[in-house]
């Protein structure tokens, strides 16, 4: 049978397309982006160091905090600035709040409908919206604006944060604890399709999301079998290539392995060395560990569990945070040029920012590797496996069924296209 399927996938941001071609035994899936060039990496060339985070946070309105944080980190490391602990912790808190918000919206509006939950179901939609609203409010209080934050710069926060604001945020978070559990019950009750991960490689930053640690380079990154210390060598470990005619780059671990990054990867790796969580949640994660390792669809479960995790972790962190210690550091006068790397966990996975600065503190080179780039190849191979599985099962193989399954799989990853497009450099 020869089917050529193209379908546009409904996702959080940007437009993407899946090309499926089935010819007899050969199944080929290509994940492509329909967006045009945005050229962030060349936009920032010539810009001053403190302007860059404002530009790159606009790569994506949904995960802007992650980009903002990563670029600030990279600048700070390039300039040799060290921020104080409270600043680091607060930034992590902001990022985690956004991860929480992203997960809730993705699960509620993009995943549940795939599993025949009608969006018109009042009760859970109200809960969703309430949680979204509350988390957004908390994020606004701490991070300034919801998208494209404006509340810290390379060197520290621009304004003192009062203890009363922290209290408010804690109250807000406290008010949605039960709602989160309710959502968890719904989502963990979904019946996931069967699928065996054809390339079980999971990559994430050490210790996230369970513990908030001051984040600075060099970065400890776990994969399913090894651990890497990553700084300027990130290019050798995360190799971006144009593997086909798609507009978006794809990424291979060490140049050869197709891998996954994101909630699923984080939870799996957490069990290897994570600490500091309530035993209830630890139990939960341990229980799902095998499923996580095996089935890419389980990213959905991983997300809601991670949400609970983050919620608990935030409350803990905030209760012991002393904002009186916030200070701001300026770069020194004797800068002679340098480079910096910033790596953070964005909602969808690892995010890497790299900048080179000249003695005037202006960018001369920039490189951004986003989570969607990292796992888009994984989407392709998983989809191929899924389709092969569907064809092999004796059920009726019609186009629309295959389409539904593949789309559901893609959505489980929560890919975000604005991150995935890079400059195409023509050779020769």
């Amino acid at each position: 049978m020869s089917i050529k399927l193209t379908s546009e996938v409904v996702r959080v941001a940007g437009e993407s397309e899946i090309l499926v071609s089935i010819e007899g035994e050969k199944v080929r899936v290509e994940y492509d982006s329909l967006a045009s060039l945005r050229s962030f990496e060349s936009l920032v060339i010539g810009r001053k160091y403190w302007e860059v985070p404002y530009v790159v946070s606009r790569v994506c309105g949904v995960c802007s905090h992650a980009h903002f944080w990563a670029s600030n980190l990279a600048m700070e490391s390039a300039l040799g600035i060290k921020v104080d602990e409270a600043t680091s912790i607060l930034r992590d808190v902001c990022n985690k709040l956004q991860i929480l918000q992203n997960h809730i919206i993705h699960l509620g509006f993009l995943v549940l409908p795939d599993y025949e939950y009608s969006v018109g179901n009042d009760k859970y939609v109200n809960t969703l919206l309430k949680v979204n609203r509350v988390v957004n409010e908390a994020l606004r209080l701490l991070g300034g604006r919801l998208t494209n934050p404006n509340v810290y710069v390379p060197g520290g926060f621009t304004e003192d944060l009062k203890q009363s604001v922290i209290k408010k945020v804690m109250n807000l978070l406290g008010s949605v604890g039960n709602d989160l559990r309710e959502l968890a019950n719904i989502i963990l009750g979904i019946e996931l399709p069967e699928l065996a991960d054809p390339s079980p490689e999971y990559v994430s930053l050490r210790n996230s999301p369970s513990v908030t640690v001051p984040v600075e380079g060099p970065y400890v990154i776990d994969s399913s079998k090894s651990t890497y210390i990553v700084y300027e060598n990130y290019r050798e470990i995360f190799v971006e290539r144009y593997l086909d005619l798609s507009m978006s780059k794809k990424c291979l671990m060490n140049g050869e392995k197709v891998f996954h990054t994101g909630a699923r990867a984080r939870l799996i790796n957490y069990l290897r060395g994570g600490s500091g969580l309530s035993s209830e949640l630890r139990y939960l994660i341990t229980g799902y560990e095998q499923l996580f390792k095996k089935n890419p669809f389980s990213n959905i479960y991983a997300k809601i569990i991670e949400s609970l995790l983050i919620h608990e972790n935030l409350l803990q962190t905030l209760s012991s945070l002393d904002t009186g210690k916030l200070s701001r550091v300026r770069p020194g006068n004797n800068f002679s040029g340098g480079f910096g790397v910033g790596i953070v966990e964005a909602p969808r996975g690892l995010l890497i920012h790299y900048y080179e600065l000249n003695p005037e503190m202006r960018v001369i080179k920039a490189d951004i590797i986003t989570p969607t780039v990292m796992f888009s190849k994984h989407i392709e191979v998983s989809s191929e496996a899924l389709i092969k599985g569907l064809l092999a099962s004796k059920e009726e193989q019609n186009e629309s069924l295959i389409k539904r399954f593949v789309e559901a799989l893609v959505r489980a990853y929560d890919p975000c296209i604005p991150c995935a497009v890079h400059i195409i450099k023509m050779k020769g």
Binding site: R47, K48, E51, G144, N150, T158
Partner: protein, 217 residues
């Protein structure tokens, strides 16, 4: 007491009441500028216009009469109010950064309400005098950016990067560049920041900036 209809709702008001009193009593609000209850109602600003039996009149001064049909808002009235506000802004010397009404400006409130642009972010930024970012040497684009965001970034200590768009009035640019920026901020840095979101500045403003700082960027 007489019976009048405000937006088709019937209410009773005293004989000597004015249309604006009737509107207030009915629970609606009409924007005003020069009106000061009990002190001044000479109807000079023409912002409080409403329709009484189809005719456009200033509500601060027009008396009620039995059976008057008052319409507080419709598209024509909004257009008239907008035109008058734009006329006012055209002759208003906009210098929000050093204005005594900074942060509490009724013109700005009206502008936001009626959807008229022309007042810069400085008009709603609560940072006064000493802690103003520009006087600290930051190239904050507040004086040149259109207001409406409540000065989100400057109020938190982050210089404004102009994401809402530039003010189109050349007068405001000239005043800001010559009176405010010149002594405090490196104009090269200012130019660099201007090229952030505003690389498509119109010719006249582009020329202004080039003239003020004589270096190409």
């Amino acid at each position: 007491m007489v019976k009048v209809y405000v937006n088709n709702g019937e209410i009773e008001v005293p004989q000597e009441a004015l249309v604006i009193d009737a509107i207030e009593k009915a629970g609606y609000e009409v924007p005003t500028l020069c009106y000061l209850k009990g002190l001044f109602n000479e109807a000079t600003c023409r912002i409080c216009v409403v329709k009484v039996n189809g005719k456009v009149v200033p509500s601060c001064r027009f008396p009620v009469f039995e059976g008057a049909r008052i319409i507080v808002d419709d598209s024509e009235l909004r257009k008239l109010r907008r035109i008058n506000l734009e006329l006012l802004l055209a002759t208003h010397e906009i210098k929000c950064w050093s204005c005594v009404r900074k942060g509490m400006c009724e013109l700005l409130n009206l502008s936001k309400r009626l959807g008229v642009e022309g007042i810069p972010v400085c008009g709603e930024c609560p940072l006064q005098g000493r802690s103003c970012l520009i006087s600290k040497g930051f190239p904050c684009l507040g004086p040149l950016t259109v207001a409406g965001c409540d000065a989100e970034c400057p109020r938190r200590g982050s210089p404004c990067i102009g994401c809402r768009g530039y003010i189109t009035s050349e007068d405001v640019w000239v005043r800001a560049l010559e009176e405010f920026y010149k002594d405090n901020v490196s104009l090269n840095e200012l130019k660099s920041l201007i090229s952030f979101f505003w690389s498509y500045l119109p010719q006249n403003l582009h020329r202004l900036v080039r003239e003020v700082s004589n270096v190409e960027y």
